[in-house]
Amino acid sequence: MNLENPNIVLQRHWPVNIIIEDVNITDEDNQELIRIGIEHSKEFKHVPDILDPNRKGYNLLDVEHPVIDKFKAYIKSRVRMMMHAEGFIDPEKYEIEALVVARQHEHGDRSKTHNHRGCDYVGVYYADLDVVNEPGDNFKQPKGRFIFTDPITQRSRALNHTQNVDIVVRPKFMIMHPAYLYHFSEPYLGQKTRYFFTIVVRIAEPIQHPFYKKI
């Protein structure tokens, strides 16, 4: 914004930072990641507590495999990048805890609007899918996109065009954002299975985090 009057300062606080990246991963590593994801996720259901209070979780990062090690290092580097962008004081002093699960969407599957409570950052890595980017807007008809919702409900009505932010997803593509941000996936319109990985991150701050105890 060009402000001609030097006495005016436009302060812009509390931005929502979103990392979007075409990931530099080889086809071989990407395919291996998909294979590991399928193999280690098949015995776990991915449904909310309300549908199955007894379901068990898992962490793909527990798998000992060179591709998982690379993926872990990649996630760590992007979380650090996010922390710098967010304005953490000395981001390197914080430990990063992460959990990754492998997911699959078939034609028509979607994710309802949600955020990721109890953690700090969330990423999704799309390993493979049919890219569907039909022309035209998706105001009334879904087009298989990933959509963020403005965390601030009260703005001018004339800013309605920014109430949702759309992203067309593609293979080897990563999105990382704060966990508080509501988001959803429109029904997937591709034919081949969409393989993706959900990355959930907690920032372990050094002052209180080590001292929590079970009560």
Partner: protein, 203 residues
């Protein structure tokens, strides 16, 4: 403190009145069609309540009554003395259509009345599918993960159902899966505050 009040009323109109309202609205429903400003800056959406037809005026009076009930529930000071301004317009959803998450900015309360639709929802909990529901999104993003089951309030639209809520609550309609058109009326309401509402000027 600070609960979010949702007013939900089944059989809001009698079956007879509902049919009459539907019959009155349908021939001219397209004149109320609107799209967001980003797609068309020139569209003006008329107010259904300006139509001087008995069934529309009857509907207006009933909506007014429910709006005042909402003001009482919300805790307004002497709500019956406050003036409410309303804009209402019908909408048609065909199979496959939805509404993305949105609020109704610049106003106070929003309602939707479903005149006609095909109920396809089986009422079961679902995670990965669209069920044609109206979803309300918790306005407080940060709660315990153990409360995830309350993150969305999921309502199943059916004919003659009225829903009224504060305009600040994000909500969305999942893809409609019925074969017959879903006809509804959107109600937007502003409560005129006593101290400032009449003092604004255009600058």
């Amino acid at each position: 403190m600070w609960p979010v009040n949702l007013l939900i009323e089944e059989d809001f109109l009698t079956d007879e009145d509902n049919k009459e309202l539907l019959k009155t609205i349908l021939p001219e429903i397209d004149k109320f069609n609107g799209v967001p400003e980003i797609f068309n800056r020139d569209i003006k959406i008329p107010n259904l309540f300006l139509e001087n037809k008995p069934i529309i005026q009857k509907f207006k009076i009933m909506v007014k009554n429910r709006l005042y009930q909402m003001l009482h529930a919300e805790g307004f000071i002497d709500p019956d003395s406050l003036e409410i301004q309303v804009n209402a317009f019908p909408r048609r959803f065909t199979k496959g259509m939805r509404a993305r998450p949105h609020t109704h900015r610049g106003i106070d309360y929003t309602g939707v009345y479903y005149l006609d639709l095909e109920v396809t929802d089986k009422g079961q909990n679902s995670c990965d599918n669209d069920d044609g529901r109206l979803l309300f999104i918790d306005p407080i993003a940060q709660r315990s993960r153990g409360l995830n089951h309350n993150m969305l309030i999921q309502l199943i639209p059916k004919p003659r159902l009225l829903i009224m809520h504060p305009s600040y609550v994000f909500h969305e309609s999942e893809m409609y899966k019925g074969n017959k058109d879903r006809i509804l009326i959107v109600i937007n309401a502003k409560v005129k505050d006593r101290q400032q509402a009449d003092s604004f000027i255009t600058i």
